[in-house]
Symmetry: C2
Subunit: 168 residues, 2 copies
Amino acid sequence: MNYHEAKDKFIQTWGTLGSSWGISRTMAQVHALLLISPDALSTEDVMDQLKISRGNANMNLRDLLDWGLAYKELKSGDRKDFFIAEKDIWKVAKQIIKERRKREIEPVLNALEELKAVKGDKNDKKHKAFVEAVTNIERVVEKADFAFDKAIKLDENAIVSALFKLFK
Amino acid sequence: MNYHEAKDKFIQTWGTLGSSWGISRTMAQVHALLLISPDALSTEDVMDQLKISRGNANMNLRDLLDWGLAYKELKSGDRKDFFIAEKDIWKVAKQIIKERRKREIEPVLNALEELKAVKGDKNDKKHKAFVEAVTNIERVVEKADFAFDKAIKLDENAIVSALFKLFK
DNA sequence: CTTAACTTTCAATAATTATTGAAAGTTTTA
DNA sequence: TAAAACTTTCAATAATTATTGAAAGTTAAG
């Protein structure tokens, strides 16, 4: 496999992985391209290399900035924006967890809390099953939330070695 | 909020959460419905309550069985299949992690391994950046894979208390 | 066997989500 | 201030993904 084949396959692979873990396919592809680029790229570079439109490139670069997965780099003597990826993948992972915790877990916890207050006959089979299910789920979601919160505060090796110790 | 409102909101919430964590919206909704149902439901019950077609109900129930998130229950004197959800949410979470590890992480690790073997000038800036990026990613993905592998073997409290100890 | 009860499949269609590209907006330079 | 260089927006459109429902398939009972 030569450089170009490998590059395309990498962008494709990273895009697929990203989209299955909650970041959009194109955003992950742009990130992949930036990851393997030794130098910062402009919007046009991204457009050319991924064959996407200006609007699309702009949108996804902006989203990457929002997620903290890429940074702007201004080159003196050039008015264009250039972009570089966060290349510490552990930091990338933590950043994604952090964003998704905020965007997805928090609203769910709020919704679940509300749901427990359902009015009705507390001895009804359905009512009991409902409150029980919601309470159980809330407990697990809270624990997952807690785990993610801790994970983003630990470094790469600490979390792995902590888990490992449990099996020594 | 009365029972029906709460039920609908719960199904909606669980569907949204599911779809953002990699299981299809409708599959998560069917699972939600089964979760709060005190008794096993038939395909028709699911069709009626979620207002979805027979084909769709069948497909999603089958997928839930595949993922190990629901079970068939046969009632004597009835030829229909009835379904109940796995109600231990920690088990549900572990099951989802297990399936996604198999379906998504393993293929990515294989692809990354292949990519490291890219042919070309090892001193070229691009080539070096590429191999470095792929190697870094592989390292983190392997660690995440390891962590998930351990997580699905631990019980609910062990993993949380292990993380907690690191902060005491 | 044959019929009835039920489940599965799949091509057509609908719904959703992503992408384009031209126009509007912004910033910088001279 | 004007014009050039660049970025952002957004309505139209394309691509993708999910859903339907009728037909085919399967299983069990009579």
